[in-house]
């Protein structure tokens, strides 16, 4: 019994620590997942822009990975292209346009707001509004009809009295 007690005490303390270690190692693995390229930049700002862009741009081949996390061939080429354009002095907007002209909306994890993407951006809120409106209507009708079914207005009451009287 005593041994069991000791064991459970250790278990109680050790388990959270183990869990913590596991979480830490997984998150470390996640950050290591980014592909290591040996790109050189003129300054820190360029390097920061590169990191932001390659995290924002999606690899067209691998569907659910950004450029920085993908081992795909095309992702490698696109990273090299982003690097070249940054060093050559292109702005972020120009780089994004370059990618859009070749790969379309898919290249962005957050598609730009255009006529074709309006439904994507506002569809969910539209459905929420329609659903809310319908729910409100149903709720209102339900509360109205529950009042109506139990109480009679004066005209109906008079009619009821008349009917009851005529029976006698």
């Amino acid at each position: 019994m005593r041994i069991f007690h000791k064991f459970s005490w250790e278990f109680k303390v050790c388990r959270p620590i183990a869990a913590l270690l596991l979480i830490l190692s997984v998150s470390v693995m996640a950050t290591l997942n980014a592909q290591v390229d040996t790109f050189e930049f003129e300054n820190e700002e360029q390097q920061k822009r590169f990191r932001t862009l390659s995290n924002e741009l999606r690899c067209p081949m691998c569907q659910n990975t950004n450029l920085s996390g993908s081992t795909g061939g095309v992702a490698e080429d696109l990273r090299r292209e982003v690097h070249r354009m940054i060093v050559d002095g292109f702005s972020d907007t120009e780089i994004e346009k370059f990618m859009f002209d070749r790969y379309g909306d898919f290249i962005f994890y957050r598609p730009r707001l255009r006529a074709e993407t309006i439904l994507l951006w506002f569809g969910p809120i539209m459905f929420l509004l329609i659903g809310g409106y319908l729910a409100l209507g149903i709720w209102r009708r339900a509360s109205l009809s529950s009042v109506d079914s139990t109480s009679l207005d004066s005209e109906q009451a008079a009619q009821l009295q008349k009917l009851l009287r005529s029976k006698h």
């Binding site: 067209p60 061939g73 095309v74 002209d101 070749r102």
Partner: protein
């Protein structure tokens, strides 16, 4: 009016079901090309055989532009179809050897046969980026004016040829006939 209101949820359900049903059969891996109805991007490269090549050297007739590589297994699956098209003279096929090594490409053509009028060597994949290529195999239909009219991603077998390419080609020919 009241009678019609009664059917609104049912109609809404069927419209949504229809849209989602269609969604089941869309391939999320097949991205629409941004280059449809745009001219071929400009390039100045060499062929696999070492000849210099640029836009001016492209065929004056309608042709297929097939993106391939010696590492690409699906390319072997579509290879017999490309061979047949080239041998029977149904359409001219131009290759883009994408992200490959020249010698490996030459060996592959030697081993399997060469359906291509010529293959543009794109070792760096840079020309592929301008075309919006994201992996071999991909096949583009380019018209006589050098304008890209259709793209197919992944294997081009006889079924795809009949169901996708022939209608696209017929449509283009009908268009050019009405213009003349």
């Amino acid at each position: 009016m009241n009678r019609f209101n009664f059917f609104i949820p049912a109609i809404g359900f069927f419209v949504l079901a229809l849209i989602l049903w269609r969604g089941l059969y869309l391939d999320p891996k097949e991205l629409p090309s941004m280059l449809i109805d745009k001219p071929m991007p400009t390039f100045a490269l060499t062929t696999v055989d070492g000849n210099e090549i640029s836009n001016a050297d492209l065929p004056n007739s309608m042709f297929l532009l097939n993106v391939w590589g010696s590492y690409c297994l699906p390319c072997l699956i579509e290879h017999p179809t490309l061979m047949r098209l080239a041998e029977e003279g149904e359409i001219l096929v131009v290759g883009i050897n994408y992200r490959d090594k020249k010698q490996l490409a030459l060996d592959w053509l030697g081993d399997n046969g060469n359906p291509f009028a010529f293959s543009i060597l794109d070792e760096s994949g840079r020309f592929g980026i301008d075309l919006g290529v994201y992996g071999a195999p991909e096949t583009y239909l380019v018209d006589a004016d050098g304008v890209i009219r259709y793209r197919h991603v992944s294997v081009l077998d006889e079924n795809v040829w009949r169901q996708d390419f022939l209608p696209a080609i017929n449509k283009l020919q009908a268009e050019s006939n009405t213009q003349q």
